[in-house]
């Protein structure tokens, strides 16, 4: 008769978790390296110069610049405030802030290596569309309510 599988001990569970973490290390080192590279070359001032081409174009630019940017989410609000002060529309700034925290082009290779190409492509495509839609709907709804 087949012997029932024993549940793992706490030590085995911990070792399995550590093993999982160690196996992800090359990917995490690569992503953090790319983020460090990006932050050394792309400044907030460079980003703010990209806007000012109309509502639709600014939403697209906000989404794309947010997606290629990386770092702590709080930084996106600091940059967002600067963009609003420079006259960039709320549509574009909200898209920028949202894309910053939901999309991450620098981590795409990592996502592909973990979840596979088709899941990553579909998820990021849906996230891109959702970001544009959420920014647009939030501004329009708040204008209606105001």
């Amino acid at each position: 008769m087949k012997k029932p599988k024993q549940p793992p001990s706490l030590r085995q569970a911990f070792l399995k978790a550590v093993l999982g973490f160690v196996s992800m290390l090359p990917m995490v080192i690569a992503v953090t390296g790319l983020v460090a590279l990006f932050k050394s070359y792309v400044t907030p001032e460079m980003l703010s110069r990209l806007f000012g081409h109309g509502r639709a174009a600014d939403i697209a630019i906000g989404t794309l610049t947010g997606a290629v940017s990386s770092g702590n989410g709080a930084l996106s609000y600091v940059i967002g405030e600067g963009l609003l002060d420079h006259g960039v529309s709320v549509y574009a700034v909200s898209a920028f802030v949202l894309a910053w925290v939901t999309l991450g082009f620098v981590q795409l290779p990592a996502e592909v290596s973990v979840f596979g190409l088709r899941f990553t492509v579909w998820r990021n495509l849906l996230t891109l569309l959702s970001t544009v839609a959420v920014s647009y709907l939030a501004v329009v709804t708040s204008e209606i309510l105001a």
Binding site: F14, M27, A30, T32, L84, P109, S113, L126
Partner: protein, 168 residues
Amino acid sequence: MKQLQFKGLRFLFVVLLLFLGVLLFDAQKLPQMGAEFISIWAKILPIFALIILLTTLIHYFLKPKHIVKHLGEESGAVGVVYAVLGGILSHGPMYVWYGMLEEMREHGLKEGLIATFLYARAVKLPLLPFMIGLFGLTFTVLMNLYILLFALLQGKIIDRVIKKDILP
């Protein structure tokens, strides 16, 4: 015991090549890049400790049949609630959560819930004061409600295209 299989080795190789390029053509940037790299790791290391602890508890307490029941194909609304709450409460960069999600997926976590979890992470509780300061209270509430709505929609769409095998 699970075999050690490194993820992202080719990606790491490409990034190392980029660093080599910087070393050869713009070496004065390297100290700044090194400082940024260390600063990022100082921030994510405590999160990794938390993730190792969470993953240990998952391995110890949650059996695959539990994951299938609460977060698998038949999990229904309960699974969605867990994914949304997990997304809202999770901290740090998205990539630090990949390992845990991958292990849970191997035990039956459905892919739509991964998409829901990852998009619900856009609701950043510690950053809400920044958001209210920048956009105002009404806009912040609306935006977060729409984020949650689209997190659910993404999960549904991902599940549907996978079930119908629409994904290329």
